[in-house]
Symmetry: C2
Subunit: 215 residues, 2 copies
């Protein structure tokens, strides 16, 4: 019974996600759904990405948070069009939430929309929102056991950004295990190692993302 | 409609939580529900706590994870009775999951049960499982904006363990803001600053937890 209800919710969600996708496609916008645990560094990666790609792409952002507008303010300060969704209590974005804010973005003027999901390694991976790809950020400070403990998100993502690598010298985290376990779950996963605070590795990450747009 | 369904789920959950609570009380067991984001350091804090309180308390553990038995193996290695719950895909434990494993623990031989919830800063705070208190771990590496972004968990917790303080010299995290925003959300919140890998601050944390048992 429980399973039936859940699968009906997911089916309804997928229908709306397809509608969102059609609207994005009509506007010629590439859409990435950015996921990760609280504090993995999603917003800071977004700031770095917007700065790196400013000469090449017009990027809009949809921010998902339980409450507050901090993230949208950080993104808006960089001059990017941004909409904040407050889920109230929901631990993930769904297609309907995205559908409701689409008119707030100047889609026809944009090349790419990045949707920053609510901080959570579980449910965001289950809900399509109309994206072309999912991608995730994992802080090395979260420890090397995360891929095997939260496998779905690693399986669903096209890219994994391993963030905060500047902290590696001060921790016991085995980044090789992180890489190997992630690739075992998803052999096609692109892995980038970055420090968003120091700026390390951002160039090759941004270059990859830029390349997706022109495919 | 959506709200009605959710509130009915929570009501059913609360009824089962009360039954769990009665069973714990009959056995004279104090129960703490330990929450936090993925990688905050919940299991490492548990290991440290079990070691520190071994002379004083018989503690049993219920481990909640999406998949896998890594955490239960780590706890079992310390000689504590432990049960692993795999939620499949659910991002939090609920009262029914706890109810189903209660017979696996020797409740009458225990003073305390610590339930390690699934790594998630959102939904675990909404679901009672039969605990006396909720408590949470937040890694300083998650950044100082977390209390205001995930307020419910801070409001529901009796104690906040700020973990990984050994990393503070290498980061931009403002621990004063973490403390102040947490206390603004919950003036009664007990705050402990620890490094589970280095062992810093564990004694006063363990002493506080031990003190709860005898209340």
């Amino acid at each position: 019974m429980k399973v039936k209800v859940v699968s009906r919710i997911l089916e309804a969600n997928d229908r709306i996600a397809e509608e969102n996708r059609r609207r994005f496609k009509e506007a010629g916008v590439f859409v990435a759904n950015l996921m990760g645990a609280p504090g993995a560094g999603k917003t800071t990666l977004l700031e770095r990405t917007l700065q790196a790609l400013k000469p090449y792409l017009r990027i809009g952002v949809i921010e998902g948070d339980i409450v507050g507008t901090d993230d949208a303010e950080r993104i808006g300060a960089l001059g990017a069009p941004v909409v904040q969704i407050n889920t109230g209590g929901a631990c993930h974005l769904d297609a309907n939430m995205i559908s409701e804010v689409l008119d707030e973005l100047p889609l026809n003027e944009l090349d790419m929309v990045i949707i920053e999901n609510v901080g959570n390694l579980v449910c965001p991976a289950e809900f399509k929102v109309g994206e072309d790809i999912k991608m995730m950020v994992l802080s090395v400070a979260e420890g090397h056991d995360k891929p095997l403990k939260y496998p779905l998100m690693f399986q669903e993502s096209a890219a994994l950004v391993l963030n905060k690598i500047d902290l590696l010298p001060y921790m016991n985290t085995d980044i090789n295990k992180m890489r190997n376990d992630s690739r075992a779950l998803n052999p096609k996963l692109k892995i980038f190692e970055v420090s968003c605070t120091k700026g390390t590795g951002i160039d090759s990450w941004a270059q990859w993302l830029n390349g997706l747009r022109s495919r």
